[in-house]
């Protein structure tokens, strides 16, 4: 697709150079880019959904490899792939069921299925619906290769009804239209996630509460604003979140809204945690086991909260929900940023010159961006779909993503 490639390359470059940061912005721009890809994709006459999915996969592969730490990119790519599958299967299943009602005996069916025992339309429709869900115990013993069954019946319906070329292109446009509409819904969902999450603030924050947060998360900020709107009286301890000290910015914003705020250093968190009722923090990504990738320092907050039995609440939009399992998150899902955040080059440049015998400098500075919080330390996830426990994440994942999209790779063209 020559039309879309410059857009894709531009976005890939932005991701590589970390010009666009933050899950929300990244997710939104990825979704918009994929919508353009879909709308400019030329639909073939057969196997449209697979070709469309392939196009998305090839673009997705480039985007994900540009910044593998930014999990929101992969999330949106997989959501779009799932959308394509959903729209395709639901329209075909509807078609089959409609057919079984209108047509009684169909010669095309028998002639087409010599090597396969004759299957009624009801079976095919139910298998079509099952194919959408993740593999389960119910379908363990089933064997129908759904795609071939569907395509066979789809082609036979085409022959028996004598559909014209016009009808076929109508079906083509319908799939594209449905997918674009669904991606539009996804973009809206990403945009309105703050409002949906903030609606739940009233149930969580009661009178005279003391809340602790780390750094500055936009979701947490909106959450606290909403509680303040509803006249809840609460105080906030903001841990500054070194080395970027975004907590200072959040403190200022909260004071502007009339919230009583206290700024503390990260090292003071353990000392203050016993005076706190609840910890509310944002996340960079939520993994499939319920673990959280969050700004550095969050694991410490979670451990302190567990020690003093303080509820640890994570607020995050559903575009942050990632279907992958964290195998070695401290290493593989982390990024080391520039040491200049910690040490001033001017003062320390002479330390960099001293080296050991093999040439490595004596002074090393490690500045990781993220921290991994294991699921057992999290009490509650507040997402735009409501409040859930960490053990429930798998359900949301099976709703939003398909099992075979975990590795986004272009399938070989047939």
């Amino acid at each position: 697709m020559p039309d879309v490639q410059p857009l894709v390359s531009e976005f890939v470059l932005k991701l590589k150079r970390r010009k666009v940061e933050g899950s929300h912005a990244v997710a939104r721009q990825t979704a918009e880019l994929l919508r353009s890809v879909v709308s400019q994709h030329r639909m073939g006459s057969t196997n449209q959904a697979a070709a469309l999915a392939d196009a998305i996969r090839s673009v997705g592969e480039q985007l994900i490899s540009a910044n593998p730490i930014e999990l929101a990119v992969g999330n949106i790519v997989r959501r779009v792939l799932h959308i394509i599958k959903e729209e395709d299967i639901s329209s075909t299943a509807v078609g089959i069921e409609g057919l079984s009602v209108t047509v009684d005996s169909d010669d095309e069916y028998d002639s087409g299925n010599d090597d396969h025992p004759t299957l009624s339309a009801a079976v095919l429709a139910s298998h079509a619906r099952n194919a959408l869900r993740a593999p389960s115990l119910q379908t363990l013993l089933d064997d129908i290769p759904v795609s071939t069954a569907l395509s066979r019946s789809a082609s036979s319906t085409g022959d028996s009804d004598g559909k014209t070329a016009g009808d076929k292109s109508l079906k083509t446009r319908k799939l594209k239209h449905d997918v674009i509409a669904a991606i539009g819904d996804l973009i809206e969902e990403i945009d309105t996630c703050y409002d949906q999450i903030s609606e739940q603030a009233v149930e969580l924050i009661h009178q005279n509460e003391v809340i602790l947060t780390l750094g500055r998360s936009r979701t947490v900020k909106e959450f606290l604003y909403a509680a303040k709107e509803k006249k809840r009286s609460f105080r906030v301890f903001v841990a500054e979140g070194s080395p970027r000290y975004q907590g200072h910015v959040l403190a200022k914003e909260l004071v502007e809204k009339g919230v009583q705020t206290t700024v503390i250093t990260d090292s003071a968190i353990f000392a203050m945690i016993s005076r706190v009722n609840m910890v509310i923090v944002g996340a960079h990504a939520i993994m499939a086991n319920g673990g959280v990738i969050a700004p550095v320092g969050m694991n410490m907050v979670a451990l302190a909260a567990q020690k003093h039995a303080v509820p640890f609440v994570v607020v995050a939009g559903s575009h942050k929900l990632c279907p992958l399992y964290p195998h070695n998150p401290e290493v593989l899902l982390n990024e080391l940023k520039s040491p200049s955040d910690l040490l001033d080059f001017g003062e320390f440049s002479n330390c960099m010159n001293f080296s050991t015998q093999d040439g490595t400098p004596l002074l090393n500075v490690v500045n990781p961006t993220f921290d991994y919080v294991p699921p057992k330390l999290v009490s509650l996830f507040v997402t735009d779909t409501g409040g859930h426990s960490p053990s429930y994440m798998y359900r949301l994942i099976s709703e939003y993503y398909s099992a075979d999209d975990l590795v986004v790779q272009r399938k070989s063209t047939s």
Partner: protein
Amino acid sequence: MELDAAQNPNPDPPISAYYQTRAEHHAVVSSDWLAHAAAAAASFPDAGAGADAAPPPSPGSNGGGVIEEFNFWRRKPEAAEAVAAIMALAAVIRSSRATTMMELEIELKKASDKLKSWDATSISLSAACDLFMRFVTRTSHLEHEKFDAAKSRLIERGEKFGEISLKARKTIAMLSQDFISDGCTMLVHGYSRVVLEILKLAASNRKLFRVLCTEGRPDRTGLRMSNELAALGIPVKVLIDSAVAYSMDEVDMVFVGADGVVESGGIINMMGTYQIALVANSMNKPVYVAAESYKFARLYPLDQKDMTPAHRPIDFGVPIPAGVEVETSARDYTPPQYLTLLLTDLGVLTPSVVSDELIQLYL
């Protein structure tokens, strides 16, 4: 070893036939056994058929025949217990003279109940029987076609279950590869074919890792496991069961199989698994369970004694005085809070997913 066809061979004291079979298949081996096994494995399809007698004659309407059929398939060391059960039920369908789905279902139910009562201790047996029964009921409601077509489909699916089981193991092995990183040390307990498959695949992908293997008394199936691992060229260290806590700090992760996965997400496995999980949990080591999905059972044990007792004779090497009791249970229950993840052919699951799957299947 001749087994009484219609009755559990050792009714008093109640010895679990399931664990007896496992011990026969996987217990201590000598080096010449290993050589013999290696030669046999090279020509496995033939060796298996040649070693056993010809399959027993079709059961007909004689209920006892399903047990014979089951025992025939169970003898094969590579096949899972569940596969043997479903093959036996498929054979019942094949030889059935029913003319409607309802009759067939009733016959199958009788055969399935007979199998379950023959060995009440085997969880994968009863889970597989229930799974097949559900499949039959669903098939009969869904398809408005001729009875013979439905019957042949059921037989075909039942006989294909052996392939499904092997495919399940391969899927689990593939899913687990990401969890094994270079330079890691893992602890395994006893002999599990699924875990062995995982380690085989990792070794063939040239991953560098080390395995600590417990002995697994009283069957000492862990020794068999260590033989197999050594044959694959994986560095193995054998521990006595009591040395697990001692070695736990050098371990990065624990891999166990399961005899059954219960509704709470916990597992029932060879005696010693609970102990290992407790130690691993207290030292913050992840415990991964590799289990095929057909082992999910509708059981909910609340404590260790809440299951059908399954006993194994234990040989201490010296005679035990008359008044002294011996704990002979062959298995224990590990609650879900000590397990990190379940690696199944349905994907990587947290323990809370199990009840969801079972509800979808049964309700």
